[in-house]
């Protein structure tokens, strides 16, 4: 009886995490009779009596108000379709696209063309297929040419760091412009290709070792070595 795993343990689907009614299942943990069972491959998170999982892989699940980075997939007659790394593409409607006035019958590809990278915000999700994004808001913009990296969405908080400490350290030491979307897509561009590669390596390091403490020092060491 009681809990059978520790906080931050790696668990697999079907693994029994706790027995009895003392614990409550949340996100990706389900109850099967007296047992709490893991429903995904992930890390256990125990907070009080609540057991939940931090998934280690999987597609991004869109949430309202998330800031995400996407690629324009298609230009339609009344909006754009954007690939934001989840199962379905998001739609950007004309009214949410820009502050500028768009004339009737205007060529929409002048604003955003296929292949452009954009930073947008999810304004509505209803069901898995309907995802609406907006480009109106602070920081929402077309991103211009650059590199796109994909990381697991669960690792984004670690890449950003406490109050943005990690990402600003990488930005400062590599002179790169970096934007991180909550969907796990990272856009970066730098003047020096070598420094750009260093930034990519640093981000990959954070993704691999996101569960280890003292990560900031490790990243700092890597950045200083490659300076």
């Amino acid at each position: 009886m009681g809990i059978l795993v520790n906080d931050k343990d790696v668990v697999v689907p079907g693994e029994i995490l706790a027995e009895g009614m003392d614990f409550v299942p949340s996100g990706d943990v389900f109850r099967d009779g007296e047992k709490l069972v893991s429903g995904r491959w992930g890390l256990v998170s125990v907070s009080g009596r609540i057991l939940k999982l931090i998934p280690l892989s999987g597609k991004y699940v869109p949430k309202r108000n998330d800031l995400v980075i996407g690629t324009i997939e298609n230009v339609g007659i009344s909006g754009w379709r954007i690939d934001i790394g989840c199962a379905f593409s998001a739609s950007l409607l004309l009214r949410d696209a820009t502050q500028e006035f768009i004339e009737r019958g205007a060529d929409l590809s002048k604003f955003y063309d296929v292949g452009d990278y954009v930073m947008c915000q999810i304004v509505k999700t209803s069901g898995p297929k309907i995802i609406d994004v907006s480009m109106k808001g602070p920081g929402l913009r077309k991103l211009g040419p650059g590199k796109l990296l994909k990381v697991a969405p669960a690792k984004v908080p670690r890449i950003i760091g406490k109050q943005g400490s990690m990402i600003s350290m990488i930005k400062e030491m590599t002179d790169c412009k970096i934007s991180v979307g909550q969907n796990g897509i990272i856009w970066l561009v730098g003047e020096d290709p070598k420094k750009e590669l260093t930034a990519v390596d640093a981000i990959n390091l954070i993704e691999r070792e996101s569960h280890i403490s003292g990560l900031t020092d490790k990243v700092k060491e890597l950045l200083e070595k490659r300076k």
Binding site: R40, P55, S57, K59, A87, F88
Partner: protein, 235 residues
Amino acid sequence: MSYTKRFSGRKFDELRPFEAKVGVVKRADGSAMFKIGSTIAIASVYGPRELYPQFLQDPKKGVLRCNYNMVAFSGSGDRVKPGPSRRSKEIGLVTEKALLPFIDLSDFGGAVVDVFIELIQTDAGTRCAGINAAALALAHAGIPMKDLVSAVAVGKIEDKLVVDLDYEEDSHEIGVDIPLAMSTRTGEISLLQMDGIISVEEVKNCVENARKACEKIKEVQVKALKEFYGLEAKK
């Protein structure tokens, strides 16, 4: 006639040496390899992604598609003709039915999860190896699952009940082959096929043998997923 010693020299309830590995196909959303004896299955998972043509979509839940393929010179017999065949379509279908009760696609209405199983080397027990690899690959891809599915072939050769038949046993004249997939946590069986003549009592014993074998296979599957996380961190 009596089958006193197995062709391979194994005990009657002994599995061939087996191993599992996760993350073998870098570009896939999830992938895994399962090797048992000389049979090697590689499964890769892509998705959930939008399903086309649209009429195949189910708005209430995602669709699972499994594709089984034996590589041209994978077996000890004739060259396998590339492309889909009656056999590969059937095995793709039973694999799908074996996995579906244990995966939850209710959040992915209108989407598809594609599983591609490639058999690069075969020595019987391919559908079971495929299911073992596919279950691991689905877990690696982050698909919500109720349990990891484990599968093994059991059967009867002459008068003896055996576990994990190899090609020599599989093609024995007086033999029964029962591929079986199950969740060891709940005990639910999601695949049970059979050819040959066998009594009810013997089938029950075969299922019991399979349950014990699946527990051993599951241990290796769990270890592969846990170790993969450790290895990624060490790189």
